[in-house]
């Protein structure tokens, strides 16, 4: 055990010491630390001074716990069906697994280090202390209980994922059984919500609150167990807390027993998932597989093997279209388009006020940011070819951005077409929303270019994140300001549907200015394998 404790403490020590070389990160951690301390002090000394909130509805928090629980349950089961989860790193595989140390001790080390990482990653809940106090008037014990059950939930899901992998690996019938149970479970939940709506004549949100607050839901895996624990804490019911912990601990012990059975030869079971996790982290760091690639096997037929068009710089655009075709047969229309359009159609059905239409647009633009800045132009910039091809930088930049500029236009008209069809907004307004969505896409492509121009080769991650955030604000300020000014001071009520027109025009002007002013980007910037992403 000496080697393992040495490993844990030395890694912690070195991580702390490495901060000496990263002052910005050190300041960031100090701020987080002070914030956490501040939150704890608020909780301990001013907790009782708050007035209780008679209107506070605990069920809202139950819904959040349920949401997290179901999300983790689904994600980790799906991961368990393919690769399993892993408590180890590749260094553990290479150095620990072959060392003369008991397999059970190594498993224990894996669990301890995973719990440590989870606690560190879950510290954000402490940020919510003021909100939880303000909204629900929770005490120290209750907030810490929430923090505790969140960590238990994640650690359990990781162990559960390994259990699913052990149970189903290489056995299609068992995989199908797990899938059936999983989808059956979600089906039962959906049916229960439907029955509550029918029975009590309440809306969907109220029905969901009633469901998660019901006694039997406490026995639903992960989400229910977590809610049961927290409810027990709120109501002071020891039995509920005990049952919840017994369920979590019991199943964990069962899975670990399975894992350590037969002389604890579990290495093979976690090896594949560890390698996969390592590869995914590596790809992410190197900026590979950022978008558009799928994990499924793609079979290329003889008549499909070729780009077919393009000469010089334009081949980048044709190559992108071929790559997109391999992901979706409709090229520009992919699963994200369909998903967003379906979301917009549903929102359109329930939302009838203009202001909500703009909220839908804002949410979609927020999501569009990630799909665009991690898009194909970004992938090109982390490969050497675009820098080496003997064509002008401007031509290559336009060609490599082509699909990223066109896709938001097509997406915009499909998404807001669906929004208009279900009555979310008038046709002219939806038309302008589609244009606005297209224009933000162009701005995000521009942001990728500016980011590379300004930050290409910048080693500090903190500085990168900070500058990219400033760039983001600087680029969108003119269009938002123009929209607000024009809609308040110029547009008469009869033309209010044109509110977004200045936004569209200014966005396209900004995008054009960026493209033109950065036209020599590929001659002046530095190629870097595995560049960081604009905003993390």
């Amino acid at each position: 055990m000496k080697a393992l404790s040495y490993l844990i403490f030395t890694q912690i020590k070195n991580r702390i010491l490495s901060l000496k070389k990263k002052p910005a990160l050190l300041i960031f951690y100090i701020i987080i630390f002070l914030f956490v301390i501040g939150s704890m002090v608020t909780l301990l000394f001013f907790g009782k001074a708050q007035e209780s909130k008679p209107n506070a509805d605990d069920r809202v928090l139950f819904l959040f716990i349920c949401g997290f629980g179901l999300l983790y349950l689904y994600t980790f089961i799906v991961s368990g069906l393919s690769t399993g989860s892993s408590l180890f790193s590749m260094a553990d595989v290479g150095l620990l697994f072959v060392a003369p140390i008991s397999n059970k001790k190594i498993l224990f080390y894996g669990l301890i280090s995973t719990i440590g990482k989870t606690i560190f990653a879950s510290i954000f809940i402490i940020y919510q202390v003021p909100n939880l106090k303000k909204s629900f008037d929770y005490s120290t014990i209750e907030v810490l209980g929430l923090f505790f059950i969140y960590i238990v939930m994640i650690v359990f899901c990781q162990i559960f994922s390994i259990g699913i992998y052990l149970f189903s690996n290489g056995n299609q019938a068992r995989k199908n059984l797990v899938k059936t149970l999983l989808y059956g479970f979600f089906g039962v939940l959906a049916f229960s919500v439907y029955m509550i709506i029918q029975d009590r004549q309440v809306d969907i949100l109220e029905a969901a609150k009633i469901l998660v607050d019901s006694k039997w839901f406490g026995y639903a895996p992960v989400a229910g167990w977590s809610i049961m624990f927290f409810k027990g804490l709120l109501e002071g019911t020891v039995m509920q807390i005990a049952i919840s912990l017994i369920l979590f601990i019991g199943f964990s012990v069962l899975i670990i027993s399975l894992l350590t059975a037969h002389d604890a030869d579990y290495y093979e079971d976690v090896l594949y998932s560890t390698e996969k996790t390592f590869q995914m982290q590596k790809d992410y760091k190197e900026g590979r597989n950022l978008s558009g690639t799928v994990n499924r096997k793609i079979k290329i037929k003889d008549n499909e093997n070729g780009i077919g068009k393009g000469k010089g710089a334009s081949v980048f655009a044709y190559k992108h279209m071929l790559e997109m075709k391999r992901v979706s047969r409709f090229v520009f229309i992919d699963s994200a388009t369909v998903f967003f359009a379906a979301g917009a159609a549903i929102a359109g059905h329930y939302i009838k006020e203009d202001v909500y239409g703009y909220i839908v647009l804002s949410v979609l633009v927020y999501l569009q940011f990630f799909t665009t800045v991690l898009g194909r132009l970004k992938i090109e910039l982390i490969k050497p070819f675009i820098y080496l091809v003997p064509e002008s930088s401007f031509k290559k930049l336009i060609a490599a951005s082509f699909t990223s500029l066109i896709k938001p236009c097509i997406d915009g008209f499909i998404i807001f077409g669906a929004f208009a069809l279900t009555g979310g907004a008038s046709l002219p307004q939806c038309f302008l929303m589609a244009l606005a969505y297209s224009s933000t896409g162009a701005v995000f492509v521009g942001l990728t270019i500016v980011y590379q121009r300004v930050l290409g080769g910048q080693p500090s991650k903190i500085l990168q994140a900070l500058i990219s955030m400033i760039l983001f604000i600087a680029i969108f300020t003119p269009s938002i300001a123009a929209t607000v000014l024009v809609s308040i001071f110029i547009l008469p009520d009869s033309l209010k549907f044109l509110t977004l027109l200045p936004f569209v025009i200014v966005n396209y002007i900004c995008a054009f200015i960026i493209f033109y002013s950065c036209r020599n980007l590929l001659d002046n910037t530095e190629y870097s394998e595995g560049m960081s992403l604009p905003v993390r």
Binding site: T293, N305, K311, G312, E323, K383, P384, D523
Partner: protein, 234 residues
């Protein structure tokens, strides 16, 4: 063919290349030797126009970042950078179209056959093993028939057959009058065909030798390399 003059590359306070000057002539295989961290890969990337630097680099008389120069050189990176969603054949087609090559198909077929990739034409980039990716990366770098070829650790990950083919290919390029610059620290792999060597330490070229000079002095590459790098370390 390749003239590197006073090239300095800094990353913040770290000087990766410090006032580096050397030339590589046509019909010659020049080596960039040095221990890990000597600045070889950085220098190759500067020559390829992938990094900013101070100083000047000329390829066939043109500045290395000009379109003319880009037509004349080929670069084979240390880590193959391929597209996940393009097949082996499509990578070559992409290069041919990007460089506006004519009648390239026969040459592409020959290259694939030499490196035993002819039966992998329909394999996607992401489905290739590391060695296969390296082979394809070499084919991509050579397809445009460059006059100056920059190899960065080209033998890493290759199987014996591919190493043999690559050595043959390098000799052919030399015989065709092209300049070949190879960055490596695997001395054995280049011992048969090198003509001049540049030994790097801490970002500087600390020694330059011609093969004939070294052989006339009764020295060999390995002895010279270890003597110089040890002396510099001391």
């Amino acid at each position: 063919m390749l003239v590197v003059s006073n090239v300095t590359k800094k990353y913040g306070k770290l000087v990766a290349n410090d006032n580096v000057t050397f030339t590589a002539e046509g019909g010659e295989v020049s080596l960039l030797l040095g221990p890990n961290g000597a600045g070889k890969t950085t220098l190759i990337k500067c020559i390829s126009g992938l990094l900013r630097f101070t100083g000047s680099i000329e390829i066939c008389g043109y500045g290395n970042k000009t379109l003319q120069a880009k037509r004349y050189f080929g670069y084979i990176p240390e880590v193959p950078a391929l597209y996940d969603m393009l097949t082996v054949w499509e990578h070559l087609e992409f290069i041919a179209r990007a460089y506006s090559l004519e009648n390239w198909e026969g040459r592409a077929d020959q290259l694939l056959e030499r490196f035993e990739l002819d039966d992998k034409k329909k394999k996607l980039g992401r489905e290739l093993s590391k060695g296969m990716q390296q082979k394809l990366s070499i084919c991509c770098g050579i397809l445009s028939e460059p006059k100056v070829i920059l190899f960065d650790e080209p033998m890493v990950g290759l199987d014996p057959h591919a190493i043999k083919e690559l050595k043959n290919l390098i000799v052919e390029q030399k015989q065709a009058g092209n300049a070949v610059l190879i960055s490596t620290h695997m001395l054995d792999s280049v011992a048969d065909f090198w003509d001049s060597t540049n030994i790097m330490m801490d970002g500087k070229i600390v020694d330059r030798r011609k093969r004939r000079e070294m052989e006339a002095a009764g020295e060999n590459l390995e002895d010279v390399f270890f003597r110089i790098t040890k002396r510099e370390n001391d």
